[in-house]
Amino acid sequence: MPAIEVILGGVILGGLYALVAIGFNLQYGMARIVNLAYGEFLMGAAFAAFWMFTLFRINPIVGMLFSVPVSFGANWLIYRALMLPLVRRARTRQQLEGETILATFGLLFVLRGAATLAFSADNRYYDYLGAPLQIFGFTFAANRVLAFAMACVFGGAIWLVLNRTRFGAALRALAIDPIGAELVGIDVRGLSGLAFAAGGGLVAAAGTLVSTFLSFNPAIGIDFTMKALVVVIMGGIGNMGGSLIAGVLLGVAEALCSYYIDSGLTLAVAYALFLIVLVVRPRGLFGTP
C-alpha cells in the first residue's frame, strides 16, 4: 500500500475529528463552556438519523434539516437555562470552567440515561452509502468521504462567517477577550448563547455523518467529547482553523501508525501527540497566548 493512500485515508478520518472538534471549539472557545455533554448530542443525532432512516427511509443528509435545528435550539435553551446562571455567578474564567464542567458532567448522565431508557443499550448500525468510491485510484467508502466533504463545507462556512462578517468579528473578539468585547458594546451573553447553540447544531451534523459508518449506542458520546477536547487543545482554544488542522493531523497520525507500526498503538500515538503539543506549545499549535 503506497504511503499516499495511507495518508489520504488519514485525512478522510481526520476531517471527521475536525468537524466534531469545531463544534466543541465554538462552545469552549467562544462561549467559554467546557461542555462534557457535547458528545451526547452527537449520539442523539446519530439515533435520530438511525430512526428516520430505518422507520421512514429518510435520507440521513435530508434528516439533518430536522436534527441540526433541534440540536441548535436545545443547546441554546441549555445555555439560557442552565449555563447563564453559572456565567452570571462566575467571577473568573477558571471558576466558570470548573462549574460548567461539573454541571455538564451531570447533564451527560441525564442525557445518556434517558437515551438508554428510550433506545435500549443496543448497538445500532445501518447501511448508507457504503459503496466504494475511487479517489486517485484508491478505494474509500463513500460515506466516509461524504463526512470529510461535509466537514470541509462546515469548516469553510464557519471560517467565512468568522473572518468575513461583522458578526464573526464580534465572535472573535469574544474568544480573545470577553471583557474587552463587552466594553466595546458587544452583547456578550447573547453572542455566547448563539455560539453555544451553533456548536450544538454542528455536533448534530457530525452525529448524523458518524452514524452512516460507525455503529453506535447511548454510551458513545464521551469518546467523541474527549477526542474533541484533545483536538481543540492541540489546535488552540478559540481557533477554528487550528481545530481543522489538528483534527486532520490526528487522523493522519493514527493512519500512519496503524499501517507502519501497529493498529493497537493508534490511541497511544494520538495522546503522545497531544502530550508533545502540551509540553512544547501549551497554548496549542495556533492558539493565542
Binding site: 500500500m1 493512500e5 495511507v6 485515508g9 478520518l13 471527521l16 445518556r112 440515561g113 438508554t116 435500549s120 443499550a121 443496543d122 448497538n123 448500525y125 445501518y126 447501511d127 457504503g130 459503496a131 466504494p132 478505494t139 474509500f140 467508502a141 463513500a142 466516509r144 459508518f213 460507525l214 455503529s215 449506542n217 447511548p218 454510551a219 469518546d223 493514527e254 493512519a255 496503524s258 499501517y259 501497529d262 493498529s263 493497537g264 493508534t266 490511541l267
Partner: protein, 408 residues
C-alpha cells in the same frame, strides 16, 4: 450444670416446636410467588451485551412461565407464578455487581438468582453464589479452567466451551478445504486489543500453526477504533484465503462493511462476537451469505423456531444465533429442575440440575452432570438469512459449509 441442662432441654423443645410450626406453615400455605432476582448491566459498557444476549431471554422466560400459570411445585401441590422482585443495575461495575448479588441473597432472600452478563462478572460472582448455595447458571461465561472452577464452586455451571473449542471448530472446516487443495494455508488475522482478542487470537493461532497454517498478517486494533480501512486493505494484499477477526460487535460490523466497500472477498471470512446477531443478517442481508462466525445454532430443533418468533414478538429483540437461545435454555433447565425436584429448596434443585438431565431445551438436549455443557457449536455460518451451526460436523443438525464465500 443443672442450669445448662435446663437450657438445652428448653432449646430442644423450642427447636422442635419451631420445626413443627415450620412444617405446618409449609403444608398449609404455599408461597404466592417464586421470587426471582438479578443484578445485570443496564447501563455502562456492558449494557449493550446484556441487552442483546441476556435480558430478552429473562423477560421472555418469565412471561412464558407465568402465561402457563407458573411452575408446578409438588410439595405445595400447585403451580406458582414467578415474580421478579429485584432487577438491579450493576452499572457495569464489578464491585456494584458483587454487592448487589450479596444483597439479593442475604437481604432480599429471593428464591433464585439469575446470573449477570460477561465472563468476568460471572467468574467474580461465582464465589457468592457458592457461599449462599444458589444455582449459578452462568451462560455468558467461559474459561480455560472450567473443570477446576466447577470443583471449586459446586453451584457453578458453564454453558459455553473453552476458547480452543471455537478455534478447533473453525480449523476443522479450514482443513477440509485445505486438504482438498481448494484453500491456501495463509491466514490474515486481526484482533481487538483487549483480553478477549488476545486470548482468542493466541488460541486460534496455536491451533492454526499446529495444523500447518502460516499467519501472514497478524495485527491488533484498539477497542472502539474509528476506522479499519487500512487493516482490510492489508488483509486483501496479504494473499491469504482465510480472514479471521477476533472482534467485538462494533468492529465485527465495521470490518464487514469495510470489506464490502473494498471488495475484499477471501474464501473464508470469519468474524467473532456479533456475527451471530440477528442485526448482522438484518443489516447486510444477502451479503451476509457465507460469512462465518463464532457460535451457531440449529433452527430445526423442536421449539427453536417458535422460541425465535416469541422472543421477537414479546421483547422486540430477535435472538442471536449463539448465546441467546442458550440463555433461554438455561432457564428452561431451571424450570424443569424445580418441577422435577418438586420443591423450591435450592440444595435439592441444584442436585436435580446435576443429576436429573439430560434436559430438553431450545438448543437440544443438555446434560449438566459435569456442570459443563459439553457438546455445542463452535462455528456457524450465515446461510439464507439464518446463522446456522456448521462445526463441529459431528453435531446433530450440522449444515454443510458454503465454500468459498460468495462475493459480496
Amino acid at each position: 450444670m443443672q442450669m445448662q441442662l435446663r437450657q438445652t432441654v428448653s432449646a430442644a423443645v423450642l427447636a422442635a416446636f419451631g420445626t413443627i410450626a415450620g412444617w405446618t406453615a409449609n403444608a398449609a400455605d404455599a408461597p404466592k410467588t417464586i421470587r426471582i432476582g438479578y443484578a445485570i448491566s443496564l447501563s455502562g459498557v456492558n449494557a449493550q451485551g446484556a441487552a442483546t444476549t441476556t435480558l430478552p431471554g429473562y423477560d421472555l422466560w418469565v412471561k412464558d412461565v407465568n402465561d402457563a400459570g407458573g411452575i408446578f411445585v409438588k410439595e405445595f401441590g400447585k403451580k406458582i407464578p414467578i415474580e421478579v422482585v429485584a432487577k438491579y443495575d450493576d452499572t457495569s461495575s464489578a464491585e456494584n455487581m458483587l454487592r448487589l448479588e450479596e444483597k439479593l441473597m442475604s437481604q432480599d432472600k429471593v428464591d433464585f438468582v439469575l446470573p449477570p452478563w460477561s465472563t468476568g462478572f460471572n467468574l467474580a460472582a461465582a464465589p457468592i453464589f457458592a457461599k449462599y448455595g444458589y444455582p449459578d447458571l452462568a451462560v455468558t461465561a467461559n474459561s480455560m479452567d472450567e473443570e477446576q472452577l466447577v470443583k471449586q464452586f459446586p453451584t457453578l455451571f458453564f454453558f459455553l466451551n473453552q476458547p480452543p473449542h471455537f478455534g478447533g471448530a473453525l480449523i476443522e472446516v479450514l482443513n477440509k478445504y485445505k486438504n482438498a487443495g481448494q484453500l491456501n494455508n495463509k491466514i490474515a488475522m486481526l484482533s481487538v486489543g483487549d483480553q478477549f482478542g488476545a486470548e482468542m487470537s493466541a488460541g486460534f493461532g496455536a491451533g492454526l500453526k499446529a495444523s500447518g497454517y502460516d499467519i501472514v498478517l497478524q495485527k491488533s486494533y484498539p477497542l472502539g477504533a474509528a476506522d479499519l480501512t487500512n487493516e482490510i486493505k492489508e488483509a486483501k494484499a496479504s494473499g491469504a484465503d482465510t480472514f479471521i477477526a477476533a472482534s467485538y460487535p462494533p468492529d465485527t460490523f465495521m470490518l464487514t462493511g469495510t470489506a464490502i466497500t473494498q471488495g475484499y472477498n477471501p474464501k473464508v471470512f470469519y468474524t467473532a462476537v456479533g456475527t451471530a446477531f440477528a442485526e448482522y443478517g438484518g443489516n447486510f442481508k444477502d451479503k451476509a451469505q457465507g460469512v462465518m462466525g463464532i457460535g451457531g445454532w440449529d433452527p430445526s430443533l423442536p421449539g427453536a423456531q417458535d422460541y425465535f418468533k416469541r422472543q421477537l414478538a414479546v421483547t422486540g429483540h430477535a435472538p442471536d444465533g449463539w448465546a441467546s437461545p442458550v440463555t433461554y435454555a438455561s432457564l428452561q433447565i431451571l424450570q424443569q429442575a424445580i418441577e422435577k425436584a418438586g420443591t423450591l429448596d435450592r440444595k435439592k434443585v441444584l442436585d436435580t440440575i446435576v443429576n436429573g438431565g439430560p434436559w430438553d431445551t431450545v438448543v437440544g438436549k443438555v446434560d449438566l452432570k459435569t456442570h459443563i455443557r459439553e457438546t455445542q457449536w463452535g462455528a456457524g455460518q450465515w446461510q439464507n438469512g439464518q446463522f446456522v451451526g456448521v462445526s463441529p460436523s459431528s453435531m446433530p443438525g450440522a449444515q454443510p459449509v458454503i465454500f468459498p464465500k460468495p462475493a459480496w
